[in-house]
Amino acid sequence: MNYEAVIGMEVHVELNTRSKVFCGCSTNFHAPPNTNVCPVCLGMPGTLPVLNRQAVEFSVAVGLALDCSISRWSKMDRKNYFYPDLAKNYQISQYDLPLSFDGAINIIVGGETKRIGITRAHLEEDTARNTHTLGGGDSGVDFNRSGVPLLEIVSEPDIRSGAEAYAYLTALKQILQYLGVSDCNMEEGSLRAEANISIRPVGQEAFGVKTEVKNVASFSGTQKAIEYEIARQRQILENGGAITQETRGWDADRGITVSQRSKESAHDYRYFPEPDLAPIVVDTAWEEQIRAGLPELPQVRRARFEEAFGLSPYDAGVLTASREMADYFEAVVEAKAPPKQAANWIMGDVQALLTYRELDIADCPLAPVELAAMIGLIENGTISGKIAKDILPELMDTGKSAQDLIEEKGLVQISDADELVTVAREVIAANPGPAADYRAGKAKALGFLVGQLMKATKGKANPKLANEILARELGSSED
């Protein structure tokens, strides 16, 4: 039988406000345990949470960027359960009236664009962090994370494969990073993804029994976990078995999912409206004000890069992968570098050097104007592309201008025809064999002679001119 997978994603992102969602404690991830805490986020009785305006505005911005409708009227609710990371024994979340709902993200998989529906995005508080590595029989609880604003983004079950899930997560993260509302750092837990996975015979309307895979440390891990889970479920069904509804963890070392708990009884969270927090009313004026503050989003920017700068879809995709990368590229082009050259340098040598130095483009020591200036020196024939490649690391490390550096090192390209004619004659005299070959019609021999000429000039000869002059000298000395 042919099966198809039905996958929905739940993504939690910590919003990078300065202070927590209901109190003024810092959200700094790197603080020592239990130093960013107060009676509110420790869940002391008698405290009053007050909602952080920025957290609401970030949440609405995400909703708008995900093409959601924004609730005119929404509220916070209490979700009741017991766990050591939850001092109040309830989490303040949103139940029936989320801040935003009914949106979509476009993903591209195998060249095809597909729309993945967004069910809702709601605001809640993060819980404390448990640590199990203290030794002894105890677990430690750190409340620094308790009360950090968390946005839960729930997709429709529109995803059909691990590859689509990967594309969805990548597109979502890209949008969140463009908005600047979250660090989206999976290692630090500021972005956490869970997948609900079931399979059903192709053509069947009803969903199969689902499993939930969580605690995966990367997007590629999520993709692999989903692929594993689809295969596992198929095998069970094909052998006449039944899927157990449960939570499964991803064991990256063994490449399998492992049962964590079965959902025998459905959780009964007994949601009710949070009486300590006033309802949230986002009127059209506020919504429009937030919309006006949205940056150009990745898909729009990518399309503009293709159109305005004549870039290929691939190049435009790479250059808009992050907002910082796109900003860098645009700054180089603004400094008068031809777009295609700018794209090649950034995606090629600049990126390679940054990777080697473990730097992000946002921290690129080479200023966009300096890269543009260097490209300008190639364009006007002052230096060859080869020389530019050679000096780029130093340009990046010293902060000197390209002009100063090439003058200092005597690297200005030889574009003086008289000087090159002299060298060309020497090269021809020193290599009678290849010269004769060329004259006998072996055009390829010219390449060797050009190479010799470049060697003789330490790479400083203008390659185009060197070609022309050699060809001319080989022709003229025939008679």
């Binding site: 406000t17 300065r18 202070s19 003024g24 404690c25 810092s26 020592p32 345990p33 239990n34 130093t35 960013n36 805490v37 107060c38 009676p39 420790l42 007050v50 909602l51 952080n52 305006r53 920025q54 957290a55 609401v56 009227w73 509220k75 009741n80 017991f82 050591p84 448990n130 640590t131 199990h132 203290l134 029989g137 105890d138 677990s139 430690g140 609880v141 750190d142 409340f143 605690n215 939570t247 963890g249 964590q260 708990r261 009964d268 007994r270 409206p273 009486p275 927090l277 006033a278 309802p279 949230i280 009313v281």
Partner: protein
Amino acid sequence: MAQITLDDVDYVAGLAQLTLDEATKERLVGELGSILAYMDKLNALDTTGVEPMMHALDMTNVYREDEVIESLDREAALMNAPKTDGAYFLVPRILEGD
């Protein structure tokens, strides 16, 4: 409205992590039952034309600005902890996935 049973009391007590003796359970069957009966009385009211009340507060949009203020010092934060190592609240070992 269905009557409250002993099973209902057990279920609710379980959710609230309460251990109740039999006498208390019997008493709660009656008390919870009378609360629900009162709800039935409210349900009997004709609310045609009455705007639904969505929230107990009649104010909206009460916010604080995103400013960091000083937190408790750690000693004070941990003062009431039944068990601590000076940095963490210590709790009986949690098995992941519980």
